[in-house]
């Protein structure tokens, strides 16, 4: 099963030996060694805390390695000496998770900065026409719908991501190694395919590519080789074609993981959330009813209004028209505070910006939604708070050193579990989740789905917005599909497949086939 990377193709494009990095007592990367054959797409796979992001950062010189060596293009560089400049000079090109693009600059400027640079003439003057021409060429090559003079911030997040990727690929094909850290996170299906297609084309033209991902579909679609990390160690290096999905997951996680699906339709519950004619921002008017015991999915392309719908219900986005009723009573959804008190909970899409308190401890992050409950007789009952927090960590299988550690010390998936826990502990009537498993590995995903199911069985209802149609088709009782802010269709459990969701999301409402 293991690939022999150097047979027949000569020297590997990149060889890593003995990469090691520890954060205090935590061995994040433990003696990892592998080789990459040139002109192939390699996927770096692993669960939460497997060390894959740390490894990429070490290669980029952003994280200081303890030990290890990199061999590339005949050069041997000690990882401990790696810096971003050295990495760049050696031919390592990175597109990180936190994209370093500039929303206030134009597309042409973005393609130049951090990329091939501006074409300059005498005295360092920029040749703007040439810069614009180059940008136009790049946009055409990557089929990005944008204008070189447009501000990057005006493009949707998907196209911004594509610009970020194209600026490193453009005019430098075949050289060095391209490393992408979760490039398709938050990209909708169609654009994921577009991006993967572009990666495939580059590999065929001889570019060596490494990309970090959770999504097994992508691995099967485009990777020639999958490098598996678990708990900081290299597990194996396999060819996806030779391995089944279940086997791959097992290798990743180290144990068999049961796939979660909704068993049957909802028990006939009563309507708990009734939305009529809701208009807010880009979405509306929308009519929707949620019954107790239901998980309803909200699908749609980027910009279709999924997030806006959820935010509007929660009061995070101002409503211009329409009403929201919870358990028969009208809800004043002007502020999140009101929505919270009525019994609605909201897990936002962008954890770093909208949900995480990074420096605060796990206990504080967990109890921020229920602080009043611990305040009695003029003091905060710390022991009770701690006990409850411990219980929550256990229930949600959060891997953490200590309750007093800051939230930022946890991996992304565990942080997401903390955010979910802080809301679910309130036993809300309605749970609104926006991309709840974004950046979360397979095992943790299933844990989160189980948690949602459990909550819903106790009598609440959940509304899940997601760009992952597979996820929605697995866990939802029905899925409504938005397009340009309106509901264009609803798919019931019996007919629910990810393909149907995609088709509905893409279809023009006027040409809807039966």
């Amino acid at each position: 099963m293991t690939n022999n990377h150097t047979s027949g193709t000569g020297r590997p494009a990149l060889a890593v030996t003995g990469a090691t990095k520890a954060f205090g007592a935590n061995q994040a990367v433990d003696d990892v060694s592998f080789e990459l054959a040139p002109g192939q797409v390699h996927a770096l796979l692993g669960g939460n805390g497997s060390g894959k992001s740390t490894l990429i950062k070490m290669l980029a010189g952003v994280e200081h390695a303890d030990a290890g060596q990199v061999d590339i293009a005949g050069q041997a560089i000690a990882l401990a000496d790696m810096t971003p400049a050295r990495a760049e000079a050696a031919g390592l090109r990175f597109v990180h998770q936190q994209r370093s693009t500039f929303p206030e600059l134009t597309v042409a400027e973005n393609l130049a900065i951090g990329g091939p640079g501006f074409p300059v003439g005498r005295g360092g003057r920029v040749h703007w026409r040439e810069a614009r021409r180059r940008a136009q060429r790049a946009l055409e090559q990557f089929e990005i719908e944008a204008d070189p003079d447009q501000l990057l911030g005006e493009l949707g997040p998907a196209r911004q991501a594509m610009v970020a990727i194209s600026r490193v690929l453009f005019e430098r094909e075949g050289e060095g190694v391209l490393l992408l850290d979760e490039p398709t996170a938050s990209l909708p299906e169609a654009e994921v395919q577009l991006l993967l297609g572009a990666l495939r084309r580059h590999a065929e033209r001889g570019q060596t590519i490494v990309f970090v991902t959770h999504r097994l579909d992508e691995v099967y679609a485009v990777a020639d080789n999958a490098i598996l990390l678990r708990d900081g160690r290299l597990v194996d290096s396999v060819s996806p074609g030779a391995v089944s999905r279940t086997a791959l997951v097992e290798l990743m996680i180290g144990r068999a993981v049961e796939q979660v699906t909704r068993e049957c339709g909802p028990q006939t519950g009563r309507p708990i959330l009734e939305i009529e004619g809701l208009c807010a921002g880009p979405v509306g008017p929308v009519d929707l009813t949620l019954n107790t015991g239901e998980i309803v999915g909200v699908a749609g392309l980027v910009g279709s209004g999924r997030s806006s719908l959820l935010k509007a219900i929660f009061g995070a986005l101002s409503t211009s028209a329409g009403s929201v009723r919870l358990d028969g009573k009208a809800v004043d959804n002007r502020t999140p505070r009101n929505a919270m008190r009525a019994g609605i909970a909201f897990v936002p899409e962008n954890r770093a910006d909208d949900a995480a308190f990074p420096e605060l401890s796990l206990i504080e992050n967990l109890s921020v939604t229920v602080t009043d409950k611990y305040w009695s007789r003029g003091r905060i009952r710390r022991r009770a708070e701690r006990r409850d927090a411990e219980r929550l960590l256990y229930d949600y299988l959060v891997k953490a050193g200590s309750l007093d550690d800051p939230l930022s010390s946890l991996s992304g998936g565990n942080q997401q579990k903390i955010v979910a826990a802080r809301w679910l502990r309130r036993k809300p009537l309605v749970l609104l989740l926006d991309e709840p498993t974004q950046g979360v590995d397979v095992a943790a995903r299933n844990e989160i789905y189980a948690v949602i199911s459990h909550a819903v069985r106790q009598g609440s209802a959940a509304l899940v917005a997601s760009s992952d149609s597979e996820e929605l088709s697995a866990i939802c009782d029905r899925v409504i599909v938005l397009r340009r802010g309106r509901v264009v269709g609803e798919i019931q459990r019996g007919a629910l497949t990810d393909k149907r969701i995609e088709r509905l999301a893409h279809a023009d409402p006027d040409e809807q086939a039966a």
């Binding site: 007592a25 061995q27 996680i253 049957c264 909208d354 990074p358 003091r379 905060i380």
Partner: protein, 344 residues
């Protein structure tokens, strides 16, 4: 494909690999975090020892009189620093702290000179500070003007008001001895103002650490957007920080009158920078990475020890400036590094 069982999530999945990971993730050693928390205190002790042993200052530095002056003369700065601390927890700067304290002192002193009783004068001072705080709160939260600009503006306006009321003259005369006794005498060998400082510090500590209000403030300081999305009333909370901070500055103002028996209209600037510096430096010790009460006290007295020692050694003023400036930069640098430690 099986469905989801009814038991809690915890029992569904085998815990073997998660436990081994958990034990390997048992993060920072407690010793290191102790060192971080008390490094600054260590510096304070070192500075103290230095001046106690240095030939030039040994005799006078450790004398009771000097220690009493050391403790007593910094109480007002410490209280005003606590007034700056509260908005700082939410990442808002209040540059009007000095002016606010001075104005409160001026009003109180004038009232006392005209025969108002001491308790009433104290209330007046706090009320003036509170009022300034309310104005700041409204401007920052309702108008949405940046706090730095707003409080800078209000401090300038207040300076004008002070000028109007005092015509630049210090207000002296009939300050009741009951007040000045508190400001200058000792209880059990400790200057009485130190007890006032202890009371204010205790109150602020309680508010920030043992009430939901304090928790909400730290949450706001950590991530304002997330705070709103967990139901915290952002504008109201930030507004209260200016109001409470202002009231504390008012208290500082009347204490200053008690200590000096007069109200100096030019006090504002001498108070502002040391108090603000101490508030920033608080993040370097006791609760590293977080602005905190203990840290304010450590910072104030660290700078106080330095200045007292230098003064006794007869150092020229510029030396004192160099030392203060360096201490501030070093301290804030330490705070920033400690703040970064929280990331893995």
């Amino acid at each position: 494909m099986s469905g989801v069982s009814d038991s809690t999530v915890g029992s569904n999945v085998s815990q073997v690999s998660s436990e081994s990971s958990r034990s390997r993730r048992r993060g920072r050693k407690p010793l290191r975090s102790y060192l971080e928390a008390y490094a600054f205190v260590g510096l304070l002790v070192l500075a103290f020892l230095f001046f106690s042993l240095w030939s030039k200052t040994a005799a006078t530095f450790t004398s009771t009189a000097n220690l009493q002056v050391l403790i007593g003369s910094n109480t007002v700065v410490a209280i005003v620093a606590l007034g700056a601390l509260i908005p700082l927890v939410c990442n808002e700067w209040d540059l009007s702290i000095g002016a606010s304290a001075t104005l409160a002192g001026v009003y109180a002193a004038q009232a006392l000179v005209h025969g108002t009783t001491v308790p009433l004068a104290i209330l007046l001072a706090v009320a003036v500070g509170l009022l300034v705080g309310v104005v700041n709160a409204l401007l920052v939260t309702r108008l949405g003007v940046n706090a730095v600009i707003t409080t800078l503006g209000t401090s300038i306006i207040i300076t004008g008001v002070i000028s109007l009321k005092t015509h630049g003259n210090t207000i002296t005369g009939n300050i009741p001895s009951s007040l000045t006794n508190f400001g200058t005498l000792n209880w059990f060998g400790i200057p009485r103002p130190a007890f006032a400082l202890a009371a204010v510090a205790g109150l602020v500590y309680y508010g920030l650490n043992h009430t939901p209000w304090g928790r909400y403030l730290y949450a706001l300081g950590s991530n304002r957007s997330a705070a709103r999305l967990v139901g915290i009333r952002t504008k109201l909370m930030i507004g209260t920080t200016f109001v409470v901070g202002g009231a504390i500055c008012g208290a500082g103002g009347i204490l200053q009158v008690a200590q000096s028996g007069s109200a100096d209209p030019n006090l504002a600037n001498t108070l502002l920078l040391p108090a603000l510096a101490a508030a920033f430096l608080s993040a370097a010790s006791i609760r590293p990475g977080r602005y905190n009460v203990g840290g304010v006290l450590v910072a104030v007295y660290f700078l106080a020890v330095l200045n007292s020692g230098l003064n006794l050694a007869g150092a020229a003023e510029y030396v004192s400036d160099f030392v203060n400036g360096t201490a501030l930069i070093a301290g804030v640098g330490l705070a920033v590094r400690l703040g970064r430690r929280t990331e893995p």
